[in-house]
Symmetry: C2
Amino acid sequence: MSASETEYLTQLGQRAKAASFILASLSAKQKSALLMEISHQLGERKDDILQANAQDVANAKANGLTDAMIDRLMLDEGRLAGVIADIDNVIALADPVGNESESRVLDNGLRLTRRSVPLGVVGVIYEARPNVTVDIAVLALKTGNAVILRGGKETITSNKVLSEVIRSALAMQKLPQDAVQLIDSPDRSIVSGLLRLDKYVDMIIPRGGQNLQRLCAEQSSIPVILGGIGICHLFVDKHADLVRAIDVITNAKVQRPTVCNALDTLLVHQDVAAAFIPNIASHLHSLGVRFHACDKAAGHLDGLGFDVTAAHDESFSTEWLSLTLGIKVVSDIDVAVEHIRQYSSGHSEAILTDDIHAAAHFMNQVDSAAVYVNASTRFTDGSQFGLGAEVAVSTQKLHARGPMALDALTTYKWLAWGDYTSRP
Amino acid sequence: MSASETEYLTQLGQRAKAASFILASLSAKQKSALLMEISHQLGERKDDILQANAQDVANAKANGLTDAMIDRLMLDEGRLAGVIADIDNVIALADPVGNESESRVLDNGLRLTRRSVPLGVVGVIYEARPNVTVDIAVLALKTGNAVILRGGKETITSNKVLSEVIRSALAMQKLPQDAVQLIDSPDRSIVSGLLRLDKYVDMIIPRGGQNLQRLCAEQSSIPVILGGIGICHLFVDKHADLVRAIDVITNAKVQRPTVCNALDTLLVHQDVAAAFIPNIASHLHSLGVRFHACDKAAGHLDGLGFDVTAAHDESFSTEWLSLTLGIKVVSDIDVAVEHIRQYSSGHSEAILTDDIHAAAHFMNQVDSAAVYVNASTRFTDGSQFGLGAEVAVSTQKLHARGPMALDALTTYKWLAWGDYTSRP
């Protein structure tokens, strides 16, 4: 990293930290007023935003991005209205900051309490979708945090206008604009520099693919919330209802195959493999699903009239994000659990069974953020879980696991009131 | 790192992970039986342990370690009895594993609950004191975690025997010995390798000085709990009771100067500096305290008959761990807060004041793990806070902050029971 980049990042960090101290003192009412101002300004500046986004879309087309990519970065009136409506939902949520717990008076008379407070400065590194710029800024401000945003270069024009609108709303509320800062340099070394800014940044949230997650885990000296990568499994036990199973598996695989809680690998107990695999595969095939199957599963797929790819180790290590499904026959539930332990990203796993012992065993033995009995993996989501907002879906174990709600953007401090009290 | 080191660490990690799955299923009763066995075996093997420790002490003397260092690594009958008594205390604590919270039934009928579970595998890197080997193994086992221990080379003989005794207790309880593994190589590259073992290790706790903490923050791809570094401040406000202040400051500085919650920098409001500094300094000087003072503070120390060192930026960035104290005169409470924000390690800070506004302002504005009004910083401690056990004192904001109790060694998973439920 060059000296000028270091200087740039240091100033960015200092400004964010200074702003964070002011934000930390705001009341819930002041933060709501700010979010209402942001919501209002986004509506007022609608034309500028859509025009900037049209520029990003034009650039994306000129650069030959796929239609799927272009669809992800595109904003229109309807999507922008959705982004604004989401702000209103966040305003309505309870403010987790200031809540006190574990309060007690110690033997020496010291009155102790644990108060929830904002983290301080949150750094978010994300790709493609410009709505993340607004979503994450709003969640950070709601919880009294400053935020440093680093979006993808494909949406830089949109992100500049969106962050500028948010900053102008901050100014209108007489709050420091540097509570929201956008890194607009496309230079990748800036990301590496941001990951070492531990003096000023308290948490890094990477919202993007495997490479971004890995980069952050390896390079960051700031605590990172890894997440959003789901290699998800569903195990059809020998005691599963093989008729009702069809709908659940179809939901898990087909409803929205491009998201992290979609099904990647179907594990089938060998006792029901012959009866079940042809049925589920035919049904899924009719919906456009392709298969990577282990030898045994492939045997049950013979003669169904469609091609099947032989599954390798890599098949089971892949988050498909598409209408592809791995299928594997396992000799019993423990082999299913073993497979999940080896290949899962720790996001979401499910068992289908009518046997209470199998259900309990699976729940106890599988160590992922969300474990389901007789339900689709698609439920792993802050909104589905009733958490209000979703900051990210954590696949790591510290601080927050699974869908992260507002309180994951807070920490706590211990406060103690004495009367000139010394330790005995 | 050599190929053989990589292979060694991979196997170490795999064995720990395999053991962790067995530990995670133990009942509180089984874990208590295990800890009782460890307590019993440590008593039975007392002579072996003390003999091994005598070897470490002899080596330390031969290598010219300071008396203070030798005292830290020394075990005798009394200290070993203390280590064993601490196990009995841990046995008596509630088991945080298995507790369910946030339970609710969603609109779609899905029954959701959040169950606390062990983290899995905890890696602990520590220095000198051999009691940490037992303390941390016991806390990890109590919470159903496997642990990989990497102690200092000065206590390697003691640590080998202590870990072997714990492993034999595991075997006697028919539990996997690899729940507790000691890295006995003195090679530093092993530490770097351990910090990248994210496939198997879920949390790293460094218990040691600034260099170790920094190494872990920079090199680890595993979440790290930084802590145990306390650059602690106490601010004497203009409305402080200047008589009662003497005892509290003396307690914070002198009671046990070598620990992280001892006072490092005394900040004094300029309005009371002339009246207070000569008194407190004379008293502390009589107890052996030396001073690094800013210009203004030094002015108030003139003519007291002892030498004062001029404070530089570095003086205020130092965790003294000795009878040295920085003193600085500040023009008001906000300058005190600003100084703390710049120099504090985020551990413990205190204000002495009789003014309720100053007290509230300090509590709100200072962002450290523990903030005190009219009390000594020495209280920041798991036992003093009534938390039962202390795994470490975290100075970071994610997962756990301040004294970490047993629950900091757990995470949670979301469990969902459906009836072949699909997402609408």
